[in-house]
């Protein structure tokens, strides 16, 4: 595999700038100087976004292997390296994370009034840590970032969350911690097996027997399935979403879930290809359960955040389905779906946040006829609900269509079952919009609502533009994926087992 060495350390900047800004905000921010703290955080978020721009403008769509590589010895005692690089699989998540962080900072502008510095600082640090997960090509470095993301999120949910926040924060932390601890043992196993290397790309080439592969696959599955989350280990997500503050929900849905999906592509599939094929039926069944059963569960929710949370699980079921049908269009569709879901679910949670800031309720029943008082808001929420159920010309359509196409190629019935997601998605998304936004004004509180202010309009507007842009012209996204996905599938199709004689 060839790799291109970068002249500027764009990846290091993308990782460390937000962390440094987060520390600065925590250090100098005071509630007595809340305005200054907010401006500083916004500057930090925007400056941190800048080094991620060259990543997609200078990315070569035809090169194989990692790009923008940075490599240095980190802990020589264990041959652990500070090894960063991106390929088509990880490229878009880096700017997406940095971008969502800007949106989160803006979304909290007038909403968070106490402990502003802690809120903003946590999100900035979280952003850098999550980017670290996407760009790390050293196994231990990956794990380092993967686990470290738990700390700021735990604090965000626990400090700024709703009434049941302590329970949700603990459930979030312990669930994910449990999954990743077993992954740690798999990582150590691979390290010992490979003769003392943490290079993920070297692990891809490591021959493993079927038993080893299955065990390694299951160990990784423990971490990634919890993170995605897949049925039946999804129960932490609705709790975390409902209790988290708006920004927390946005980051959780838009980025954190993708850490799991990305993990499948970086670890499970290429390191244990035979086990992946062997266990694919299990993953496909679990994915279909997520798509259909969780879709039905979403429909009966009374709390808007819970509804969108279940919808996220269903959408992520689509992603894992796409990955494990092993054809190009399916895997590409899965990745596109992850990026699109980053925009759409983030926007949906922002919409709920907008309503919650005004009414302090997330119950669908407390609303009705919002359109009469908030026409601009109504337009946005209809758009994002449409995108959520995969309307053509929105980003949601591209990914879902590709995955369904791939699934039909793989097996007609799988495709058919997957396609029911479109119907279910339309049912729960549109029904919620109907009950909340349309109809007569539900009660006197709704009658007192004011429409979006400039700040809210801006953040929803930017997301709307991106959603439509990606729906109309997905080529920049899909083109950059092609080589990496083809390489990955090529690699996965070759068995690692010793040839049978």
């Amino acid at each position: 595999m060839q790799s291109t060495i970068s002249s500027y350390p764009y990846l290091s900047l993308s990782v460390w700038l937000p962390i440094i800004f987060g520390v600065i905000v925590l250090a100098v921010g005071r509630d007595s100087k809340a305005g200054f703290t907010r401006v500083l955080s916004l500057i930090g978020a925007v400056v941190s976004f800048l080094p991620t721009i060259p990543l997609f403008t200078q990315f070569s769509n035809t090169a194989h292997g990692p790009q923008f590589v940075e490599k240095a010895a980190w802990i020589e005692r264990f041959n652990i390296q500070y090894y960063l690089g991106i390929d088509g699989l990880s490229l878009w998540f880096v700017p997406l994370t940095a971008f969502i962080t800007i949106i989160v900072v803006i979304s909290a502008w007038q909403v968070i009034e106490e402990r502003v510095a802690q809120y903003m600082g946590s999100f900035l640090m979280l952003s850098g840590l999550m980017i670290g997960v996407f760009v790390a090509l050293d196994g231990l470095l990956f794990y380092f970032f993967f686990e470290a993301t738990l700390i700021p999120m735990f604090i965000i949910i626990g400090v700024f969350g709703g009434p049941n926040r302590v329970y949700a924060a603990f459930k979030f932390f312990l669930y994910t911690f449990m999954g990743s601890l077993l992954t740690l043992i798999a990582i150590i196993y691979l390290y010992n097996k490979s003769g003392g290397s943490f290079d993920i790309l070297a692990w891809h080439q490591l021959p493993l027997t079927m038993t080893e592969q299955v065990l390694v696959f299951i160990a990784f599955l423990m971490a990634f399935a919890v993170k995605v989350p897949m049925f039946p280990v999804h129960t932490w997500l609705p709790d975390a979403h409902v209790e988290a503050p708006t920004g927390g929900s946005v980051v959780l849905a838009a980025i954190m879930l993708k850490l799991g999906g990305y993990g499948f592509l970086r670890f499970s599939l290429p390191i244990a290809p035979d086990a992946s094929h062997y266990l694919a039926p299990l993953i496909i069944v679990l994915s279909l359960i997520a798509v259909i059963y969780i879709g039905l569960v979403a429909m009966v929710q009374k709390d808007m955040k819970k509804l969108v949370a279940y919808s996220s699980i269903a959408h992520m079921g689509f992603v894992t389905l796409g990955f494990f049908i092993f054809n190009e269009i399916g895997v590409q569709g899965g990745i596109v779906q992850m990026i699109s879901h980053g925009f759409v679910s983030g926007a949906m949670f922002l919409c709920i946040g907008v309503l919650y800031d005004r009414m302090h309720s997330r119950e669908i029943a407390d609303y009705g006829g919002v359109v009469n008082r908030m026409p601009k808001f109504a337009a946005f929420s209809v758009l994002f609900a449409m995108a959520n159920c995969g309307l053509p010309a929105t980003s949601g359509f591209v990914g879902e269509f590709m995955v369904i196409l791939g699934a039909v190629q793989f097996n007609f019935w799988t495709g058919l079952l997957a396609a029911t997601a479109l119907i279910l998605g339309a049912a729960y998304s549109l029904w919620m919009v109907k009950r909340v936004v349309f109809g007569k004004i539900g009660n006197k509180h709704v009658a007192e609502l004011t429409d979006l202010n400039g700040r809210e309009f801006f953040m929803l507007g930017v997301l709307a533009i991106l959603t439509i842009y990606m729906g109309l012209y997905p080529a920049p996204f899909t083109d950059s994926l092609q080589v990496s996905v083809a390489d990955l599938l090529q690699h996965v199709s070759v068995s690692k087992l010793p040839a049978m004689h």
Partner: protein
């Protein structure tokens, strides 16, 4: 390489150079004891500064030896100065010095340096340090035992310092009785080993056991008692009963003095006796350590969940953390009685060493915070006393959070690298089930550490009085927190130092 045993008892032929630090400490401690007698009650800070300077002086001497990287035996092979000893001594000085900084105001407020008491607390602390140094450097059962007793007796006295305080007195009684029992165990085991090998010298014992010249049954018999004695001192289950009571009952400054630095000395004692002396018996003692380790992980972590007193919780957490150290200790050699397969030895023992150092640094900070929140007439001993610390003092809330996440083993803190190093050693021996048991208990452990974080950040403050702490403590406590993060992000240097020290010590 062993020096020739000198049979003439002329003082001139004894090389005193390797003992420079110990001699300096004895002289300085006696001088401090005398100076302190003439000091007025308000001038106790002079004793404090002198004690810190003494430790700094020791550190300079030991640092020189450590940099030279040589291994020297002296006093008829009874005493050894090698890289492992010097590295552990350096951290011992650091730990004792930090303890003194943290406990100055706390102990002063509790009348432990006034009335008919002078600065004995400092001198006794220096004597515990001396005992630990001798334990670390002992190459003969006798000096090791003498060091252990010097340390223990000083600590018994320290625990009992608050004579008018019922729980302290109770803790002192428990500690003294159980500690004496453990010493008895040790001594009995040592006498058995002496009976089997005819020697108290570690090097000779190693030679004789490797050659199979000693009666195996008697050796195992002795080994059981020695391991039990060590487990008592370390506080490993089922010899842990004293730990929570003594941790809770002692004045917090003394808790730290007996909870932090002595673990380094106990670790050295395990290396000297079990690895350097009785490695051919590894098959036997590894099984004992296995039981101790798994039980410690289980009982420590599960019982800690039920605690509401933070000192008690940290005591159980100590038991669990030491389970990890024992895991590292038993991952050194594989293949049963064939000690030839020792390629993994230095990495595994150095992982255990790194874990011990990590544990000590983290414990110092956590108890430091407990002392910081305490005022005169008020002990911040309940976990609930940490409520709303994030509002009272955001910076120290961050420090405590860092320490708790480090104990739980979450990156980027130091505790993660330590857990990682030990798990790597365990997995390398092929004992996957053991690694899985260890991580599952870490998961349980994460719960009670998180609960402290929750109390700090999520709960509203009950006590809103500002925290008044002397400047020296503020600075050191902040550095302590920063160090735990820094050594988590950049652990390379210390890991390499542990490995090379251990390799040289085992190779000599």
């Amino acid at each position: 390489m062993n020096p020739m045993i000198n049979t003439t008892l002329s003082a001139a032929s004894i090389n005193m150079a390797p003992l420079s630090a110990e001699i300096f400490l004895v002289v300085a401690s006696c001088a401090i004891l005398l100076i302190d007698m003439f000091l007025k009650e308000g001038k106790r800070d002079i004793t404090y500064v002198l004690s810190l300077l003494t430790l700094a002086g020791c550190a300079v001497i030991t640092w020189g030896d450590f940099n030279a990287g040589t291994t020297t035996y002296t006093f008829f092979n009874m005493f050894v100065s090698d890289p492992m000893a010097n590295l552990l001594k350096l951290f011992t000085y650091l730990a004792v010095a930090i303890t003194l900084v943290y406990s100055r105001q706390y102990s002063g407020d509790r009348g432990m340096m006034s009335g008919n008491m002078g600065g004995e607390i400092y001198v006794l602390a220096l004597f515990t340090t001396l005992g630990q140094m001798i334990m670390i450097s002992g190459n003969n059962m006798l000096p090791i035992y003498l060091g252990l007793e010097l340390m223990s007796l000083s600590l018994y006295a320290l625990v009992a310092m608050r004579r008018d305080h019922a729980t302290s007195t109770e803790a002192a009684m428990k500690y003294f009785i159980l500690g004496s029992l453990a010493s008895g165990f040790m001594l009995y085991g040592i006498s058995m080993i002496y009976g089997a090998t005819g020697s108290l010298d570690i090097t000779t014992i190693a030679k004789l056991t490797a050659a199979g010249a000693a009666n195996h049954t008697i050796l195992v018999f002795g080994l059981v008692f020695v391991v039990a004695g060590m487990a008592f001192k370390l506080g490993a289950v089922p010899f842990h009963m004293w730990v929570p009571d003594v941790y809770q009952g002692s004045p917090t400054g003394v808790t730290l003095l007996l909870g932090a630095a002595p673990k380094l000395a106990s670790f050295a004692m395990m290396i000297r006796i079990l690895v350097e002396g009785l490695l051919p018996m590894a098959f036997d003692w590894q099984q004992m350590l296995l039981a101790l380790a798994v039980l410690s992980l289980a009982v420590g972590n599960l019982t800690a969940i039920a605690q509401t007193n933070i000192k008690r919780m940290l005591a159980y957490s100590t038991i669990a953390q030491l389970g990890f150290v024992l895991l590292g200790m038993m991952a050194g050699v594989t293949g049963g009685k064939d000690a030839g397969s020792a390629a993994n030895a230095a990495p595994a023992y150095s992982a255990a060493m790194y874990y011990t150092i990590t544990y000590v640094l983290t414990t110092l900070g956590s108890f430091g915070l407990v002392m910081m929140l305490a005022r005169s007439g008020f002990e911040a001993e309940e976990i609930a006393d940490f409520k709303g610390l994030a509002k009272r003092s955001p910076w120290y809330a961050v420090v405590m959070t860092v320490l708790m996440f480090s104990l739980a083993g979450v990156p980027p803190m130091m505790g993660f690298m330590a857990k990682w190093a030990v798990l790597q050693a365990v997995v390398a021996t092929g004992q996957y089930w053991l690694a899985i048991v260890a991580v599952l208990f870490s998961l349980i452990g994460a719960y009670y550490y998180l609960r402290v974080v929750k109390t700090i950040w999520f709960d509203d403050a009950v006590d809103v009085s500002p925290i008044s702490t002397p400047m020296d403590m503020r600075v050191v406590l902040s550095l302590n927190g920063i160090l735990v993060v820094l050594l988590g992000v950049m652990p390379g240097g210390l890991l390499a130092a542990c490995l090379s020290a251990m390799t040289q010590t085992l190779g000599s």
